[in-house]
């Protein structure tokens, strides 16, 4: 059996509460007692029972991170960072996958794990602002990515409009004129896609260009990008394409190359997310890099604030930095 406070107390010749005080860093414990208790803790290899502590204190030290799909590299890279940062605060991260399905997102949001966690970081895809308003669960929550909170929840994301504008402007600066986009979504709920589309269109009109084509996708995997690019090539082929994320771009790249087109010579390609794959594709992938570490750190620290100050401080709506990383898929010399 695992040792309890009681065992440590008997071993050190003090009361249970004193051991608890030592464990919790309560200051008014004499150095002598403290040493004796610590020795007993070490000897018995005592570890606090988290269930009991949680039951008593209402805190579990566990936070949830809900993302659509870990097998999308952007989310697994983000998860890696979040776990790292949370670890520094002594928190354990529990990951929920929603597959971007509205039903699962509602489930997660409405507190299916509420008993287990102190708070959650949530990266919704299909959820509507109404869904969020209808939320009754009180678990503190920080939104990542989609700006659908309507100012009712803490939120951190890149400025998608500005980032998409930057990406598109880069293509324009290469001298391309028939610029297409891949990644729009029919579902009116897909706020991120909508914002990137808006940035794309604004950049084109700023440059005095008209939109060459926009391809819808139903999901953001490689296969969707490959298939969307095939549709674009069926019509009047573009000379540059902005893909709303890197996996779409890698799928599109595959289609371009297998159609015998050269990248960037015939078609320049830019993605979004800066996932590791894009650094090793051929050609390597130009992309917009959101500062994932910054997002993870900010998200966790927003949650920490929310957890400590139960007060009604107004929710914050923060912006993460992004930058353009130029690689071979838009290189000029090629």
């Amino acid at each position: 059996m695992r040792p309890r406070l009681k065992d440590v107390a008997e071993h050190a010749g003090v009361s249970i509460k004193t051991v608890s005080n030592v464990v919790n860093g309560y200051p008014h414990v004499s150095p002598d007692t403290r040493t004796r208790v610590e020795a007993a803790i070490a000897e018995l290899r005592y570890q606090p029972n988290l269930s009991a502590r949680n039951l008593r204190s209402g805190r579990s030290g566990v936070i949830a991170l809900a993302v659509p799909d870990l097998s999308i590299p952007y989310f697994s890279e983000l998860a890696t960072k979040v776990i790292e940062v949370a670890d520094l605060r002594g928190w354990t991260v529990l990951i929920d996958q929603t597959q971007g399905e509205r039903r699962k997102e509602q489930l997660v949001m409405s507190g299916i794990r509420a008993q287990l966690i102190d708070g959650m970081l949530f990266s919704p895809l299909a959820l509507t602002p109404e869904d969020l308003r209808a939320r009754t669960d009180q678990t503190p929550m920080v939104l990542l990515g989609e700006r659908i909170g309507g100012g009712t929840l803490d939120h951190i994301a890149v400025d998608n409009v500005a980032a998409a504008h930057l990406a598109t402007t880069h293509l324009v600066a290469l001298g391309r004129r028939r610029i297409a986009a891949i990644g729009a979504q029919r579902a009116a709920r897909a706020v991120t896609a909508e914002q990137r589309l808006r940035g794309f269109r604004r950049a084109l009109s700023d440059a005095g260009l008209s939109e060459h084509a926009v391809a819808d996708v139903s999901d953001y995997h490689r296969a969707d990008g490959a298939e969307a690019m095939a549709r674009l090539l069926d019509g009047d082929p573009p000379d540059a394409v902005f893909c709303f994320n890197d996996t779409l771009a890698l799928g599109a790249l595959r289609t371009l190359l297998s159609h015998g087109l050269r990248v960037p010579r015939d078609v320049a390609l830019i993605g979004f997310d800066d996932i590791e794959d894009g650094r090793f594709s051929t050609p390597t992938l130009t992309t917009i890099a959101p500062d994932k570490a910054h997002i993870a750190e900010t998200a966790v620290s927003l949650l920490a604030t929310r957890l400590s100050a139960a007060g009604a401080e107004p929710p914050q709506d923060l912006c993460a930095p992004h930058r353009l990383i130029v690689r071979e898929s838009t290189a000029t010399g090629a």
Copy 2:
């Protein structure tokens, strides 16, 4: 405040224990009472408090999955499957990343989360059989991948020797004669790498060929593969390469293409793991596909057995199926 059993009991006009019985599916409850209790549960939106339940019952319904790094696609794909399968049993999965570092693996193995979890699935990289023998923590554990348990723990993995043999034999069948491998590891602990190397060598000697070259790597990321391939090209270039995983292969592919070599014409390439990236690279990547769904299901069910039967049933050592998937990187017509 969240409703408790007590609130539901009062609302339904029964005792706390009766509500508990209904919640837990205890059979001897009259249909009438059951209906009334269920109505009260629904109305108050009662959800059991997991901390209390865990404290009382000693079970948390949470299992840990410890892997080196989620940003390695193989592990994120595996994690996705494990979460799915665990969900069917009503379990929540908590993910620990070890970075393949021995110290972190020891930490995880020795029960750092023991208070929180009922059992764990562990995919070690750097751990030695001695580390495992020195383990004192009693949390049930199932090993994935590395066969270092020495028969003391449940274990599921593909037959790495046979799989590597299959991969190498495929290259031989293409008519290649200068066949190299990428992915050996200096650290004697890396059992998986060792087994794949053994299968590689056995296949070559079965074919009457001698080993062209073997490149060591320190890690299994794309960058390591790219760098290892560069070293191979410095010497007498191979006409085929077996990479011990797909990310290594994609890195190697990058180096080959940027050196102006054609794949598979000049160099045929085969990987291991069947990650999604390999289906969309150019050329697409031939690979050995371990049955990840099978691994996830088996691992979770091994753990379930171990959890229910506290008895000393002998640990099982199981083998997951694998198959060869031929794609462009070893296509014959090219």
